[in-house]
């Protein structure tokens, strides 16, 4: 039986998380189909067909799916899902939204946010904010899985030539309507895809002071994140939050500034390759996970760092 991977995209662009999810699928088995569900998403389908190792790209291009409403997408995937041994999606806000609906409709459990594949039915996933790793084995006939992108490398994105197959399904449940979206525009890389992330915490003291991070982010080509404390204090919007309930990142370099290192924050960044902590409190728990710690007042250290980079 084949594996179905749901592509993550915004109707214009295929998102990088799809490539990590395909890597996870390849560790499960060789026969992988990719589903692009959206509206007016030909540009995404073209890219999807180029990914090596995909046997075909299924396309559900209908206005019903334009805004990725979970009710409608969940029903579509459940309708075709019983032909597959595994259904995988990225653990993005979209994947987390529709995948449990798919699992419930197929009457199977969902295995959330796997970070490794041990066999076709056994996986590892973090629990308790990443303080424990559970090895779980599913007894269901169809495995519905979300994949944490930081657990898998991205696969090759070019060189393949998978055929396209259009699905003539339109599963509009008619119980939900998209109203509007307020998406932050930024020239910086996306938090979850950036090589370098610099994040501020409560120690930043205000939203204005995040400008101290911006100069450094510009020089390093970094994305800017924040701790929950900084979000709760109203310094920055929630989509910048790194942590158990925010975004999970694992960049090559993570710089934590004025962040104490609560369990919930560590859960979102402790798989980063190199961690730097800048904090004036030498006892802050963030120093226990940092490769390089600098005990300093961030209002002195940040301008100096920016000028010397």
């Amino acid at each position: 039986m084949s594996i179905l991977v749901i592509a993550e995209h915004d109707n214009d662009e295929l998102k990088g998380a799809t490539l990590n999810t395909i890597t996870a699928a390849k560790e499960i088995g060789p026969d992988i189909e990719l589903l692009v569900v959206g509206f007016s998403c030909d540009a995404v389908v073209e890219k999807a067909c180029l990914i090596p190792g995909i046997s075909k790209v299924l396309v559900a291009d209908k206005e019903t799916y334009k805004n990725f409403l979970a009710e409608n997408i969940g029903s579509l995937i459940a309708e075709i899902g019983s032909d597959y041994s595994h259904i995988l999606a990225s653990a993005t806000s979209n994947g987390k939204n529709f995948m449990p609906r798919v699992a419930a409709l197929l009457d199977v459990a969902q295995i959330s946010e796997i970070i490794s594949v041990l066999s076709e039915d056994t996986f590892e996933r973090p629990i308790y904010a990443g303080n424990c790793i559970a090895t779980v084995k599913s007894s269901d006939s169809i495995k519905v899985i979300t994949v944490r992108a930081t657990g898998f490398d991205d696969c090759e994105s070019e060189g393949g030539s998978a055929p396209r197959e259009n699905l003539d399904l339109d599963t509009n449940l008619g119980i939900s309507i998209f109203v509007r979206e307020e998406i932050a525009e930024s020239d910086r890389p996306e938090l979850t895809a950036a090589d370098i992330v610099i994040s501020g915490g409560r120690g930043m003291q205000s939203g204005e002071n995040f400008s101290l991070l911006e100069g450094i982010a510009d020089k390093l080509g970094a994305a800017i994140g924040a701790s929950r404390a900084a979000v709760d204090s109203g310094f920055v919007p929630n989509d910048m939050q790194v942590g158990q309930t925010g975004k999970i990142v694992a960049p090559n370099l993570y710089i934590a500034v004025g962040i104490s290192g609560a369990i919930q924050h560590l859960a979102g960044m402790k798989d980063s390759k190199v961690i730097v902590a800048i904090n004036k409190d030498a006892d802050a728990p963030i120093f226990q996970v940092a490769d390089y710690g600098l005990v300093a007042d961030l209002f002195d250290a940040l301008p100096e760092l920016e000028s010397k980079l």
């Binding site: 629990i127 939900s176 490769d291 760092l305 010397k308």
Partner: protein, 250 residues
């Protein structure tokens, strides 16, 4: 309207959990238990709907052992009108929880079900979506704002790039994100009053639901340890280490 608020008893969010040395599970001996933080936000939102006159009755429900009564009492002290415990000794997975909740929804006919987006123990983030799916209800997950009018609910959701607003037919399922509200504390008089509020206990058998697990936990191990880091003495030393030792900047 009637609002149903499912809550989960979990480890207190301040406790750092460790795997047991024999890797059979997390070590939960003598740890403090509490209402899951996201469920607390759900209770608060339901109570606010009642205070605003939008909701007439708030029912708190939990699924688990007899010990969950403690968290249901807290929900009653916070302002829920009555509580239901679906008592079971087995560790019910999100699909089983959703099936049990569906059975209760069919009995109680609430127009709105508000629950936490995720429990901080198993970090699954599934139950609300599964419940909505089983009931063929719409869902507003990761909610940071809700507004009810004319038989519909507008839900502003926290999504990866920012915010999304959807309009859902009622009845609907909403799952809470952190910024939806700031939960209150229970006052002593309300804690006393809570003891007199109606409290029902049901079993999965009475609800005619098979909630047996589908997933076997083979082991629970500690995450890989990070090597011990060093403290640098200056910004210059930090830049030097990042360039020449870690080689992560150029």
């Amino acid at each position: 309207m009637k609002v149903l608020v499912p809550i989960k008893r979990v480890i207190d969010f301040n406790v750092k959990v460790r795997a047991k040395s024999d890797e059979t599970g997390p070590d939960l001996t003598n740890v403090k238990m509490a209402i899951n933080p996201f469920c607390e936000i759900a209770v608060e939102e339901a109570i606010r709907l009642k205070e605003a006159g939008t909701a007439q009755e708030v029912i708190a429900i939990s699924i688990g052992t007899n010990a969950c009564k403690e968290q249901l009492r807290t929900a009653l002290a916070l302002g829920a009108d009555r509580a239901i415990l679906v008592e079971t000794e087995i560790e019910v997975e999100p699909l089983g929880v959703a099936k049990l909740l569906k059975a209760v929804v069919e009995r109680e006919q609430p127009e709105l079900i508000i629950l936490g987006k995720q429990a901080i123990d198993d970090d699954s983030n599934q139950t609300g979506q599964m419940l909505a799916s089983l009931l063929s209800y719409p869902q507003g997950t990761f909610a940071s704002k809700i507004k009810i009018e004319k038989g519909k609910i507008n839900v502003t959701r926290e999504v990866d790039g920012g915010l999304q607003t959807v309009s859902l037919d009622l009845p609907a399922v909403v799952t809470t994100d952190l910024r939806l509200n700031e939960p209150r504390y229970a006052s002593l008089p309300n804690i006393m009053k809570a003891k007199k509020k109606p409290f029902d206990t049901l079993t999965p058998e009475e609800l005619n639901v098979d909630a047996s697990p589908r997933i076997e936990i083979l082991k629970v191990s500690p995450p890989p340890e990070r090597p011990t880091g060093i403290i640098v003495n200056s910004v210059d030393e930090l830049i030097d280490k990042l360039k020449n030792e870690a080689k992560v900047i150029s």
